[in-house]
Symmetry: C2
Subunit: 275 residues, 2 copies
């Protein structure tokens, strides 16, 4: 293999690390890909790592020793999370988003890949440690958010269905009370999707009473999974007492004044508090 120029190596290292977040690479592997000695790779990685850190893109963790290597973690700083939550709230306050019944239309925003990626990177930063084995959501609107979270954590996504599907083998279903509709609903997951003892992170787009989240928790119990955390993009201020106690929302919707065309939404306390 032809020896690459340093600029080529820096670009390829950047690509490898950015496209494969949370993925361990040994110096041997990287040396093979780039066709240079481990010592050269070490110097290159120092440069790349400094740049990534200096630019606030995340941190490059090194593991010393014979099987030594690096892992890139695209972790946001607290200030970056705060700035993002503030931007998000500003966009969600746009009056054209107001829907009948105190809801806001946010699908266009959260399904725009640059926003989806930022939301995913925020959840991945908040729930980086301890790392989950799976990122789990329930269809439908949480899926893009959960996928991008999973991508930055380099973990598989698992999607709970709202009905039992015939095409995916034996499954476990539960019934739960949806707080917003007041009706009993169903959710199910193929038995093979999550092995017993798995550590899971739950992600959803919206929480009002918390019935759906409670259902996800109960379903995870059936799988003997350990829930490490629950991330929600937007939760309503009311009801204050929700069916799930431990959760991390990015924004809190205080209310929608349909007449005055005003949306009251703010970053959640954990993200807006000054340290």
């Amino acid at each position: 293999m032809e020896r690459m120029r340093r600029s080529d190596r820096l670009v390829q290292l950047s690509h490898l690390l950015l496209e494969h977040p949370a993925t361990p690479f040994t110096l041997g592997q990287l040396g093979k890909v780039l066709g240079v000695a481990k010592s050269t790779i070490s110097e290159d990685l120092d440069l790349v790592g400094e740049s990534l850190a200096g630019l606030g893109l995340g941190r490059l963790e090194s593991h010393p020793g014979a099987a030594g290597g690096v892992v890139f973690r695209p972790i946001k700083t607290k200030a970056q999370m705060q700035a993002f939550a503030t931007n998000l709230c500003a966009r969600l306050r746009e009056p054209h988003r107001i829907l009948t019944g105190g809801f806001i239309y946010m699908t266009d925003l959260i399904f725009t890949p640059e926003w989806t990626a930022e939301i995913g990177r925020t959840f991945a930063s908040r729930f980086a440690q301890p790392a989950p084995d799976y990122v789990i959501t329930v269809e439908t609107k949480g899926i893009p958010l959960a996928l991008m979270t999973a991508r930055y954590l380099n973990r598989p996504l698992v999607v709970i269905r709202r009905d039992a599907r015939v095409t995916e083998g034996p499954s476990v279903g539960i019934n739960f009370l949806s707080g917003s509709t007041g009706r009993i609903q169903t959710m199910s997951l193929p038995r093979r999707a999550v092995p017993p003892g798995a550590k899971v992170l739950l992600i959803d787009d919206f929480m009002k009473a918390g019935g759906t989240a409670r259902g996800m928790m109960d379903l995870m119990s059936e799988f003997e999974a350990r829930v490490l955390g629950l991330g929600v993009l937007v939760e309503t201020a009311e009801p204050a007492r929700k069916l799930v106690r431990d959760r991390v929302a990015l924004a809190v919707l205080d209310g929608v004044d349909e007449k005055a065309r005003r949306v009251s939404i703010r970053p959640a306390e954990w993200v807006s508090a000054v340290e």
Copy 2:
């Protein structure tokens, strides 16, 4: 702003371009971010562009002139698409995937972010020109694939629901005949999700008779949208005559022999043909 070293600039340029595919940047914008003159940026971009192309990561397109700039298109070569389709089929042939009724379990694979990203990059490469305004899918399993396609094309994702939702404003619904279940089903989309005259790319994970895809096409007619293409991850060889004629599948499932525990699946002709 402190002047960055060239290595820092190369790393940051790589990051900017890789994290923002199909996004135009002017030299002025990039110069501001990096704190250097346009002429310096030009030289840096030449280096980064050569590396990206040489490494098969995509191409950096330049637009000359006063408002000149660059766009990074993470387009795969034909050989890369071919290699990926071959790998995908090898994984989908694993006997543990066989489900009752001639189906295969592929959710675990296509929901693993590294695979999802590669599938999305393949569709984005195949449907790069003419560029769609929206990437559209129908819930549920197509969503991750469509999101990653949308990400590499830098276009919003739109998800058609299988029922009418109360929380998203006025919507348009249609009924369609599902070929696999033989039943009439519903799909719907909020009126505001797709403006009249939009150019759209449809993405789905699986096609048997093509009823769902036909439904998506019909729904798009109601929105006066122009369908530029339909990408499907896996289609079945039978029935050969499907309800949608123009489609691009990545793999063709010839059959599943449940007794012999054998899956017959191969890359589609367009991707496997030698040019």
